[in-house]
């Protein structure tokens, strides 16, 4: 299991939790497992063909997975995953 930090805009879909556990050997498998646990998150994270929405960034130990191996990036149990969609609020 890997700890995944859920952004504030998606917490309702994760039962209000700030961090959840999900399993998977790669970022893609981890996100698939996350969506299986919290199905409402599905269309907000992933495109119809299973890709990562361009307005959502995923960071593995502080590095953007788009500059690693995207969904194929391998993940270990002690890695920290942060999901970060664009956030507009200013006032």
């Amino acid at each position: 299991m890997t700890r995944v930090r859920i952004p504030p805009v998606l917490r309702t879909q994760a039962g209000g939790q700030k961090e959840v556990d999900a399993s998977g050997a790669t970022v893609g498998a981890l996100l698939a497992d996350l969506v299986a646990r919290y199905p409402q998150m599905g269309e907000q994270l992933l495109t119809a063909d299973g890709g990562l929405h361009r307005f959502v960034n995923v960071y593995l130990n502080g590095q953007d997975v788009r500059y690693l191996e995207l969904l194929d990036t391998p993940i270990g149990e002690h890695d920290a995953v942060i999901i970060l969609p664009a956030m507009a609020g200013g006032s």
């Binding site: 361009r54 609020g89 006032s91």
Partner: protein
């Protein structure tokens, strides 16, 4: 015997040295300074030369141009500087009198005490990292705020207090009672007043030495280039994706740094976009999310102190850029979780395929080179 590090030069050579980065000191009295001085000069009256010059010009290898009215006091001061170890000091022969007689440019100080001696900035002036030179840099800086809201309010107050010389504020809205839970630049008796006007009133009462420019309009693709043109950097306190992209694309075109923050409920994010040096907003998110994934604060709510903290972090980054201090948050996104009381950081990268700053950015970069953070240069 070593050659003396002190020389007298004519105004033209002094100008050349100033243009190539020499420190410029004016060693006259305050009342003389008020009648006009050279642009970019720091006032250092004769009695203060020995005690304060090391704060003003910490680097003794940096060339120093010093002048007075006619060249007598400045030559004496130049010899004093040499005795302190300054390696390259020139005194302007004939002083500012000759300078003016040659028709060279000079300027009148604003109607305030010189920042170098202004007690308002005493806590800055004693710090070597700021000092009179940094304070003068703050005074010359022009910062544009997009929005006088939750983020803009605290940032405007502290940049005004810090003595940033010109604050521009873009906002088309009026003060609403529901703003006052966090927008501390406004006040209860100003509900219904234009936000730009309300913010300007507060800033003037806090620091009348700051020039406030009110841009009472909505930021759009049509006016953004004009609005940001006169400023050194922009503080983004908008709350819609549309304006964030409008600002980003214009800031990249003009190579202006943007200090970016956003807030949501108990969390805030902060980064500094310096075009072509680090990523821009579109490198991060090339397209906006659908509205249901990104509700604004009016829908989702926000704890009032969260934009307060994030706005002050924006002000801090702006001061770092102006003073060229520390490590600005370029290519780093800081995430603050108020409930955890924790800060975390992720790494941001430039996207070579970025529609704003990637691909054909090279020529724009060349055209704009040297145009970033030019607050005091």
């Amino acid at each position: 015997m070593k050659a003396s590090p002190v020389r007298e030069v004519l105004p033209q050579e002094a100008q050349n040295l100033i243009d190539s980065g020499a420190a410029l000191l004016d060693t006259r009295e305050e009342h003389e300074w008020r009648a006009g001085h050279l642009a970019g000069a720091t006032l250092l009256p004769p009695v203060e030369v020995m005690v304060r010059v090391e704060q003003v010009v910490p680097d003794k290898t940096r060339p120093v141009v010093i002048y007075c009215a006619s060249g007598v006091r400045s030559l004496r001061a130049a010899v004093q500087l040499a005795s302190l170890g300054y390696q390259n000091v020139v005194s302007v022969a004939g002083g500012i009198i000759r300078w003016k007689a040659e028709g060279r440019p000079w300027e009148l100080p604003s109607n305030t005490p010189s920042v170098a001696t202004n007690p308002r900035y005493a806590r800055h002036l004693v710090m070597p990292e700021v000092g009179p030179e940094g304070q003068a840099r703050l005074q010359q800086a022009k910062v544009l705020f997009i929005g006088a809201g939750g983020l803009g309010s605290p940032a405007q107050l502290y940049l005004a207090a810090a003595g940033v010389g010109t604050l521009g504020i873009v906002d088309f809205d009026v003060v609403d009672l529901s703003n006052l839970q966090r927008q501390v630049v406004h006040a209860d008796n100003r509900v219904g007043m234009k936000k730009t006007e309300s913010a300007a009133m507060t800033i003037r009462s806090l620091n009348p030495e700051v020039k406030v420019v009110q841009h009472d309009e909505m930021l759009t693709d049509d006016n953004v280039d004009r609005l940001i043109a006169g400023y050194d950097l922009v503080i983004d306190g908008t709350d819609t994706f549309e304006t964030r992209y409008t600002l980003n694309d214009a800031a990249v075109r003009a190579a202006k740094p943007v200090v970016h923050a956003s807030v949501f409920r108990f969390e805030g994010q902060l980064t500094v976009f310096v075009p072509f040096e680090g990523p821009c907003y579109r490198c991060l998110y090339p397209t906006p999310p659908p509205p249901e994934l990104a509700p604004g604060c009016s829908v989702a709510g926000v704890l009032g102190v969260v934009p307060g903290v994030m706005g002050l972090l924006q002000a801090t980054e702006a001061i770092k850029l102006i003073l060229r201090l520390g490590d600005p948050l370029i290519g780093r996104l800081l995430i603050w979780d108020a409930l955890d009381g924790s800060f975390s950081e992720v790494r941001l990268r430039r996207d070579p395929a970025c529609p704003a700053c990637g691909a054909d950015a090279a020529e724009r970069e060349a055209a704009a080179s040297g145009a970033t953070v030019t607050a005091a240069s």
